[in-house]
Symmetry: C2
Subunit: 242 residues, 2 copies
Amino acid sequence: MAEKSVYAHRVEPQDVDFTLCATFPSLGASILNTAGIDAHSKGFGVDVLNTDNHSWILSRMAMEFDYRPQQYTDYTVTTWINEYGRVLSTRNFTLCDAEGHEFGRAVTQWAMLDLTNRTAVDLSHVGDTHADAMVACPSPTDKPRKIREVSPTIHSEHRIVYSDIDFNRHVNTMRYIEMMCDLLPLELLTCAAPVRLDVHFLHESRYGQTLTIGCELREREALFEISTDDRTVAVRACMAWK
Amino acid sequence: MAEKSVYAHRVEPQDVDFTLCATFPSLGASILNTAGIDAHSKGFGVDVLNTDNHSWILSRMAMEFDYRPQQYTDYTVTTWINEYGRVLSTRNFTLCDAEGHEFGRAVTQWAMLDLTNRTAVDLSHVGDTHADAMVACPSPTDKPRKIREVSPTIHSEHRIVYSDIDFNRHVNTMRYIEMMCDLLPLELLTCAAPVRLDVHFLHESRYGQTLTIGCELREREALFEISTDDRTVAVRACMAWK
């Protein structure tokens, strides 16, 4: 059994919006970077997996922020893995201010992909190999919720460009969250209420494709569906304000 | 007279493109963040200027990169001010790898804006007040060059959204550079040759406006002009590969 790992972060000028508070995508990027660095330091990062032609793929993500910290604020991201299912492993996070008060938390679920045939690897045996890295501590909030149906009333289109793509030439996770935010009224995005985001990644989308971003606005809740040219759903998501 | 100041940076996963090298906008953001932190630490940051209803406005920028560092690379940004003209002050930068080898440099020119009437402040007396912060060391490369005429053959449109804007609700400097990059062929963007970017900021553009990004591709050179709905030119720029 391992201990939780703690990493230092700071809200930099490129991380804030016009209210000088950290954006959801910038906080999400800190969370995912922490996952990458922690997996690397424990010997099962993407670099090591790639030598077996495997990779980690983010399947679902839930993030909660009680408030968004201001520019130049120091904070920590604590992370631990507490579960290996057959297909998904669960990595958890808490975000704390300099005084140690928790202001955010996240639960992410990852599949291991075999890049030769692009199928999910059975994680049953991997969980044993990585047992030393597991922490017997529950997730800090509910696991990512399923989002089954979205009936969008607002739409935008976006051609996937150079600045959107990651090392796989797929759209970067946080770019999806930017596209969703950019469909919302500023009043909702910048309201001070605690917020929860649930995101499901269903299919990859690639450089040169055109995405349709659809949004269904309910009271204190926004549902999203992002699909590619051929109407394949790439991402479904929900943002809910308390 | 002051000494040059040195700040530590690292190429994070959100800073790289699909080649795992730092993008131009991420290197530009490091440069501008260094300017902000250095001005703040010397007592003439935007926070202090705002109490007089003044602010620094980036007018012109030149950046040269011999190569783009890879993900997780540590590097330093060294900065110093060496000139106060009547309207523009000049802040310089060099970027060095962990062994101290210079791989990039930048020269930026800033106006001080009086926010009450949105006119430039005469810097003649400001130069005296800030004399302690000046460093008698020449700029590391040519000052930003003027770009007079652009005859675009490639165009794109972009409606200004939440994720594009800074604390003034104007388009963030580095978003302009992203928009330019996104018009270029991947082969040019990712070629290993040293590159120089010259950018002139002529007018602000605001949330809700639609930008037209025009590009004129020449041999080893791309010229850009970004204009707002009413055809006001917001930015002109040139990228040149050796």
